[in-house]
């Protein structure tokens, strides 16, 4: 079962994702995708670690190539987030079609896991004209969001912690 949570940055998507897995009794994995470069990334990672503390997640770091990750069948997974993963694929790995690559990896993960929650970001609503690589990032992020929404049984957009459900139902609301 795949749930996609989208929205702007810092809007409470992670907390919502974690809450969705609160009641899960099996093994829970958290896939971290942010490279710990610089004080700001360090602080963001520390804050998210504190949020997850005591919630029973095993943290797995995967910055690129999500498809290489194997997790035990029947587990619950929180993948955070497609924004980092897509940026890492483009800017670290030089991938030109990350949406397709990540879609396939998420599909494989969803087939193994009992419950998969993917945190996604809306990055295409600021009207700015960007350099080609950033424009590619925005296009690929949108493509990935559409792919995952189609695959997902539940899609919610988060606004300051409040979910707007676009597809399916959120079990705890």
């Amino acid at each position: 079962m795949l749930t996609l949570i989208t929205g702007g940055s810092k809007c409470g998507r992670s907390a919502l994702g974690e809450r969705l897995l609160d009641g899960f009794r099996g093994e829970k994995y958290y896939i971290a995708t942010m490279q710990p470069y610089g004080a700001e990334a360090g602080a963001a990672i520390a804050r998210h670690r504190a949020m997850r503390a005591g919630k029973g997640f095993t943290t797995v770091e995967q910055y690129t190539d999500l498809g290489a990750l194997t997790l035990p069948p029947g587990c619950a997974v929180l993948l955070e987030c497609t924004g980092n993963l897509t940026a890492n694929e483009i800017f670290l790995a030089g991938c030109k079609a990350p949406a397709e690559k990540i879609t396939q990896a998420v599909a494989a993960l969803a087939a193994t896991a009992d419950t998969l929650v993917v945190i996604h970001s809306e990055v295409g609503a600021d009207g700015m004209t960007y350099a080609p690589e950033t424009a590619l990032y925005i296009r690929e992020m949108a493509q990935l969001g559409r792919n995952l929404a189609q695959m997902a049984s539940t899609v919610a957009e988060c606004i300051y912690g409040i979910p707007i459900v676009h597809k399916g139902v959120l079990p705890c609301f």
Binding site: G127, A142, H166
Partner: protein
């Protein structure tokens, strides 16, 4: 009139084709304002507004004329106002005009649909 909005690449064009089957979808990035006045569907309306501004014409007056002369049109309009307000005066003016024209269009439209990751939600009226 129907307005389809949402972020860039949120799936407006695909949804428009599937739900409304317009005979043609005119591209606001290349069409003339005169062509738009007769079109069944205009995509990238925010780019058309930018081009009208570049010609020192008034996009609000154009939008009012469009509503008057082409009231059945389907308009695809990106949400563009969710970032930092730009320092550049012309960029600010484009955002302001896009906002005003968008509000005029949605006030007149009987149906307004927003796409999120390809999924439509009716903000006004009902999904077809």
């Amino acid at each position: 009139m129907t307005v389809l909005t949402g972020a860039a690449y949120s799936g407006k064009t695909d949804y428009c084709r599937a739900a409304f089957s317009p005979p043609t979808i005119l591209d606001g990035a290349v069409c003339s304002p005169e062509e738009a006045l007769r079109a069944s569907c205009i995509a990238q309306f925010q780019v058309l507004i930018r081009r009208i501004l570049a010609e020192n014409a008034d996009p609000v007056a154009f939008t009012e004329q469009l509503i008057h002369e082409n009231p059945g049109c389907i308009i695809l309009l990106d949400e563009i106002g969710c970032g930092i307000i730009p320092l550049d005066r012309e960029e600010r003016r484009w955002r302001e005009m896009t906002g005003r024209c968008g509000c005029l269009l949605t006030a007149f439209a009987d149906t307004v649909i927003r796409l999120c990751c390809g999924i439509p939600s009716a903000l006004k009226g009902e999904l077809p």
